[in-house]
């Protein structure tokens, strides 16, 4: 029962299934011979059984633990009176995401409607608990407002360049804003950071700071005629890649304070800062190899053409090499980032309470014994939502950039 038609990525799985069935080819092939019929029936049984089991689990699971601990899952034991430090970043993220998606990605109506639906459901679920639902809903509205603004600004008023500048500035300022808000005034120390918030911050910093570093490392490793730079960058990459992340995390926790001078401000309390440094370095080493692959795929003729019209090295790099190299390796880059995001769960080993550790602590409580599966499924779901968004985003970006390249 081979389905010959090319899968069309613009349709959902369900739509594709229906289409495949409507396709006379598949319709006739599902029950073509006795073997076809047998395979179809067996598949059907497996699917029904799986759906039934999942459905039963969803209905009968002890989900109370998720609702009770929802706050800890998100932000650990971050003090209530300081939560205002987190929300503005969320809203800013929503706003720039809304703007950017209208400017560059143009999601279909279906995506928008399902996002709206998901947002409403989450808001509704949280509504009876506290005012965070309102803040969440506010973020959602900001995102939609940004989308609408950029959409009509583009189609009706030709304001795209203005919005593009705002969106780019927003992305650049997002993490600095977040850090400023988290550290100004009498902010809680990083010891209080926890939950999904910690995973997201660690991954975001490692990606945003690590990637430019990776580009520098990759350039160093591919450089011609400067053996000292080549040796230095190659050893850095190979040494960092040579040991497991856990080893580096322990190193950051216990050894780094002795190596770095004290004016670095890394006192015993700042485990998170040290973890950030380790993750930046770790991510940079891996990403450097991805970027190197992209740089090496660029034909020599591109360098020669750039040289022949009088570009300097940095102009060639910025205008010709990096745009092509990074575009070519975008799928591998996203792959690396997804891996890194999930690796942030390892920080529990150096006593940072991330979202997985919150879960583990929760189902070990007497009140919630026997809820391990529910908790793990929920944590898995959170990770899946983030990584799935990342992979979809990269797919969209690839489609947008793909024009004219191959």
């Amino acid at each position: 029962m081979s389905i010959d038609s090319q899968p069309n990525s613009n349709f959902s799985i369900l739509q594709r299934l229906v289409m495949a069935y409507e396709d006379s080819d598949a319709k006739s092939q599902l029950f073509k011979t006795k073997l076809h019929t047998a395979i179809t029936l067996v598949t059907l049984v497996i699917v029904v059984w799986a759906l039934f089991t999942i459905g039963q689990f969803m209905l009968n699971g002890e989900w109370q633990v998720i609702i009770d601990k929802r706050r800890a899952f998100m932000i650990g034991r971050y003090p209530e009176e300081h939560v205002w430090r987190i929300w503005p970043t969320v809203w800013m993220f929503a706003a720039v995401t809304g703007l950017s998606s209208a400017l560059w990605l143009r999601p279909g109506k279906r995506v928008l409607i399902s996002l709206l639906l998901a947002g409403s459901i989450i808001s509704y679920l949280f509504l009876e608990f506290d005012s965070n639902a309102l803040k969440f809903g506010f973020g959602l509205s900001i995102g939609l407002f940004g989308y609408a603004l950029a959409y009509f600004g583009d189609t009706k008023f030709k304001l795209t360049p203005v919005f593009a500048k705002i969106a780019i500035a927003g992305w650049i300022l997002l993490i600095p804003t977040m850090l400023v808000l988290l550290f100004i005034g009498d902010a809680p120390t990083t010891n209080y950071w926890g939950g999904l918030f910690v995973n997201v911050i660690l991954a975001a910093i490692a990606i945003v700071v690590g990637t430019p570093l990776a580009v520098v490392l990759a350039l160093g490793r591919t450089t011609q005629g400067y053996p000292a730079i080549q040796i230095l960058t190659t050893s850095f990459i190979e040494i960092v890649r040579g040991a497991p992340l856990i080893a580096w995390l322990f190193m950051g926790r216990f050894v780094l304070p002795f190596i770095l001078p004290s004016w670095f401000g890394l006192n015993e309390a700042d485990v998170i800062i040290r973890t950030m440094i380790i993750l930046i370095i770790f991510n940079a080493a891996y990403t450097a190899e991805v970027v190197r692959g992209g740089l090496q795929a660029i034909p020599k003729g591109q360098y020669e053409a750039a040289d022949s019209i009088g570009f300097t090295y940095f102009q060639t790099l910025r205008l010709i090499l990096l745009p092509q190299a990074l575009r070519a390796v975008l799928p591998s880059l996203i792959n690396q980032y997804i891996g890194l995001f999930k690796d942030t769960t390892l920080v529990y080993l150096i006593s940072v309470v991330d979202v997985l550790e919150v879960g583990r602590k929760a189902f070990n409580e007497l009140n919630y014994s026997g809820t391990a599966l529910e908790v793990l499924v929920f944590v898995g779901f959170l990770f899946w939502v983030v990584t799935w968004s990342m992979s979809n985003l990269s797919k969209k970006v690839e489609e947008n950039l793909g024009l004219g390249t191959r």
Binding site: G301, E304, A305, D307, S308, I309, F311, G404, T405
Partner: protein, 249 residues
């Protein structure tokens, strides 16, 4: 061809040596090229003709000898190199357009970034260039959406956008389908008639005979013979030249 505006020597090469490992690609090559001259470089493959023109804008660094372009000597000073490269345009066999940029951006990029021209002016200049090579309607497309002949014409427009004094052509039609060769040669012919100094490596003998003021014949890293097209076709002196001409004509 065109009346020479002056006898000013714009490219001076003396005793140029170039090695690739143990292989000597250029053996003491000397040549003077005057402003407005169209020079066609001939020779069997591996004879050093491409290497010679690539030394002029230093895509290849020569090991010994002297190269002076428009009064600027090629030396270790990278500012000299930058200056020379913005005065010397080059067209490659494989076009080497930038695939991630539109045709218009391919042409406008160098004036914008190297000459710091405002975007609007650079784009006007680029459109004028694309009109000159006959494909203004392709401006918003990407290079891969164009035919080979069109891509090569964009490459010529890109080089011309820097308003160079000298144009180098490294086998510009060798990668093209036969029916696209003419459109590229037509552009080059127009360029030659406008008085541009050109050095062309090509195997298109009919075209070469028509536009060239002078032929340089390379063999085994040396200039074996030089002279007018008439000299070459009617009265070649060296045996090596006669053999080559008998093989390609």
């Amino acid at each position: 061809m065109v009346e020479k505006s002056s006898d000013k020597i714009i490219i001076h090469a003396a005793n140029v040596d170039k090695w690739f490992g143990n292989f000597q690609a250029l053996k003491g090559v000397s040549a003077d090229i005057t402003e407005g001259e169209v020079v066609v470089v001939l020779g069997p493959s591996g004879s050093g003709k491409s290497t010679f023109i690539r030394c002029i804008n230093q895509l290849e660094e020569h090991e010994a000898g002297e190269i002076v372009v428009d009064g600027i000597e090629i030396n270790d000073d990278s500012r000299n190199l930058q200056k020379i490269r913005s005065e010397v345009g080059m067209v490659f066999q494989q076009f080497n357009l930038f695939p991630h940029l539109t045709v218009l951006d391919n042409v406008a990029l160098a004036p914008r970034k190297v000459k710091k021209m405002p975007k609007k002016d650079a784009e006007e200049l680029a459109m004028a260039g694309l009109t000159r090579v006959g494909i203004p309607e392709q401006a918003i497309k990407f290079p891969t959406q164009l035919s080979g002949g069109q891509q090569q014409r964009v490459a010529i427009a890109r080089a011309l956008a820097m308003q160079p004094k000298i144009m180098l052509f490294d086998e510009p039609t060798s990668a093209l389908d036969p029916e696209m060769i003419k459109e590229v040669l037509d552009v080059m012919r127009e360029l030659a008639e406008s008085g541009m100094t050109m050095i062309i490596v090509t195997h298109e003998m009919g075209f070469a005979r028509e536009v060239a003021d002078r032929f340089l014949f390379f063999a085994e890293g040396q200039i074996v013979e030089q002279g007018t097209p008439d000299h070459f076709f009617n009265n070649p002196q060296e045996d090596r030249t006669k053999l080559f001409l008998s093989q390609i004509l």
